[in-house]
Amino acid sequence: MNMKRCPIHIPGCRSFRSAAMKGLLVMLTLTMAPFSLRAEDIDPSSTVKRVAVFTVPRTDPSLLALNREAAEYIENTFSRMGRFLPAEHHRIQWALSQSHTGQAVTEGTFSNAARLLNADLYVVISVSRSPRFAYAIMEIRGQGRTYQAIRKTWRIRSRIVRNIPLKLGREIALFHSGISLSADIIKRYDDGRFLINAGQWQGLAPGTFSIPGGGTVTLLQTGRFISLAQSSPPPGDIAHIDFGLQPDVDGGVAAINAAIERNTIANYGLGTTLLKNENAEHRYVEGLCIINPGGNLCLPGYGAFLATEYLRFQNARPDVPGLAVSVSAFLVHLTLPSAATGGRGNFFPWERDSDKSEAMQRLHIFLWGTIPFNFSVAYMDQLAHLFHTTEHLPPFFEDRNTMAAFMSFIIPGGGMFYKGHRFAGWCYYFTEISLGGYSAYNWDNGNRGKIALGALGVIKLIDIINAALIGPSYSFFSTEMDRDTSSVSLETGMYHTGDNEGVYSMSLTMPF
């Protein structure tokens, strides 16, 4: 076939040049006569409210690809929300070619293109990069009488390029909060029925809807973008119907957040970086249960740091204050009963003498019995320090809340260390061990021991719940997951109202 790609922006290009092809087309035209298009056909998708997504041109191929990916994701998010239908790509190209008069692309180019496309909104995306971050600025502008007041700008940054489109998409999803479904009546019939420009795509299905302000609308048939309806009372001169349906913003944001989290864990996770070709989960468990106890038995405190080598950290440095705290705690576990008896009581807990009361022996057994907790906490503290400084995420991070709760269940403060909250972890550790020790010492002293045990149970429960609910403290992770709420933006603008009145605007936006 003598057919080649006909770039839309090149005037005069012919797709079919040969006479044979023209003849074939004529023949086909005749053959296809029954399929000829009716001029009065309504294209359902053309009646829907529209958005045009533009990108500021870039020459760098990687930025070009990011531009394209971001635009596509934003269009998908608009589609998912079901309020503004993204303009088709070939139409955008055409409109840009029509409105692009000079060398440089200006804001006027996009607004003119959006006007040509009859879009209610248009979005302009501009991406850039620095050595550490990728940035994107997204502007959304309304057009026409209904939406002209909409003017918003978002600035997004991420160290993971793949997260840029997702973060932009999340803002678009949140932008839809509160935009309820309002459909225009586009055709009326004699029998009281009417066509509206909303259908399955907007979340409608056949059935009866109560509408705000009283009355009901019954959708008799629903297409993708259009529905046949009748209402009670009849619509009269009303031009549009407000269904009051909200888009599924929470669901959309949750799905996007899950995707951002997946990318972030893939980028920082131990299993996809340092332990790429190994079973990271196994090494983490083995490090905690086998390597660390062995290391601590040989060299209490510093052994915990040495055991972290099992997870293959590069250029790792120990956290000296953490080591000091863990060694001090270990010494307390080991020597407190001896010190409490002035060094006269037998050093070993299983030996009891006249200087060691029964209560003291119980405390002694408790403190020696909980030395493994000290080892584990020392190890998790060093791990948390290394995860912070080397910017890695621990294994099982996809299920971090469950894992943190489990860690807190088996180790005092374990879940807090797992999520990087070292100080909180130490606080829970000292509190639980102290309450446990007090309970053991006072077990036969009235209700004191039991009350202390109850208090320990309550603290343990709080520890578990707190660990499950608290967010991770790893800043590199939070940077990706959280919305950028710190930026303040100054906006200026000029537009004309429907009455051709010039309006100048200036706004200071601070998200909170």
Binding site: I8, E88, H90, S97, G223, I226, D248
Partner: protein, 520 residues
Amino acid sequence: MGYTAASKICQLPGAPKPRMKKIIFLLLLCLIPAKDLFASKPLAGITGIQSDSARGRSIANLLEMHLYNILRSTNSFNQIDTAQMRTQLVRFDCLEDSCILRFARRADIHLVLRGTVRDMRNSMEIEIYAMGTGAPYFGARIYRYHVRIPVSRLSLSTREFSYICEEHAGRFISNLLHRYRFPVPFIIRGNTAVPDYPDPLNGSFTVYRYDRSPDEGEPLRSYRNAGTVHLKNGTIESLAPGTPQPGNGDFVLLTYEKKSQYLTDFYRGRKRELVLTPWNVSDTLYIMLFTAPASASMPLVVPILGHYARGDYAGLGLWAVNAAPYLYLEADGFLNRPQKLREENRDISRNDAARYNFALYFCFAGGMSLFVDAFAQDYLHQAANYQGVQPLMGNGLSTAYLSLICGGGGHFYRGHRAWGYFYFHLNNIMMYYTLREFSRAERYNSATDSYEKEPVDTTRAYRFLGAYCALKLIETIHAVLLDDRIENGELVEEQTAITPAVLFDPEGNLAFGIQGTMRF
């Protein structure tokens, strides 16, 4: 031509539409044979599966191929060549749903299949959906299938990917056919209205009639139920009372549920053949012989060699939580066994006796279910991902045996963990109390230096036994009737959402409510 072409496809005011026609013409060149175009079987087209990586592209190609082949195998559709159609749509940059629907509507393509394959590194997400043109869909999505398939820590070559794509394509087409309705119009032949369909239709159908003539160019034509017609060999046998004689344009909706069921059964059977061994008695015999050692070694083997070694940490956590109370009972039963109490001349309560009997049961049979869970999950995971033929699995007789001798064993064997734990607890609780009812307390009489046994309420005990037998019967039947969980991938359920809603009515008053959203 460039600008003009764009304006035409864009349908700008006053612009004709030859560009769209051109697409249609080019595509119609590819339609399978021209005669079929005018036949009444629905015309289906796969407009391409998008992908975002090289690996995704190969999966998309496989998926397209299988979708095409399976659709063809149903012999229910005329089809457009997928590659040609995709090439032309890409060439003309007609890739959005709205553009494709416009094209399909004008080309009289009844069913459009589209999809995407997203590479998530550790998994691939496949989303396929179908849209219908004309009544009763008018462009609406008929069915959407979204699945996440694992690809990490598996040995997957082209052959396995092909199997996986075929499975998902089969499931998608089967579910689609279950929902799809095709409007078969009546035409007047001679003086009689007959359904315009190549195959003779039989059975009772609802007749629908459009409210308006087709000349009005509406994108959505309302229709209504006009009555019921009984067809035999493609002709009207009778009309239900009150049903007018069908005329030109009236139609019935044809369903494909039988073909859907056939496809479901076919692909389920095919997968079993590929990944499970044929049914045989010897497998069950081996399991019987292995029951006692497996159950006895469960407390050590299951957490270490089962869940941990296979990376099933969720299973490990579930095992720890669920097994703990019974392991305690088992340990207590053995440590305070009646023989030991007798040596110490202590009384033996019914609970002591029941715990010992339960310990024996749990040691030699009851622990088998958790042993099965630890290994079956992994075997079925391998089977689901086409990692070779899995031994000992998929055997109905083994399922029945495991259900009978331990709580939830059959369900764990089939891969239904939640049901397994449900029956595991129910069985163990019932078993313990049944044993307790049959157990006799023994009081030590120091005067005679002997034990006196207390009587047992046998009626009550047999009631417990009857209830336990009923439970085992229900459990066994349930387990045998279930399918093995060997489906590949995990369905991504994000189609429905229920959220609170706060609205303002026109008077500005707050209105609170709950809204449900279903995503198509």
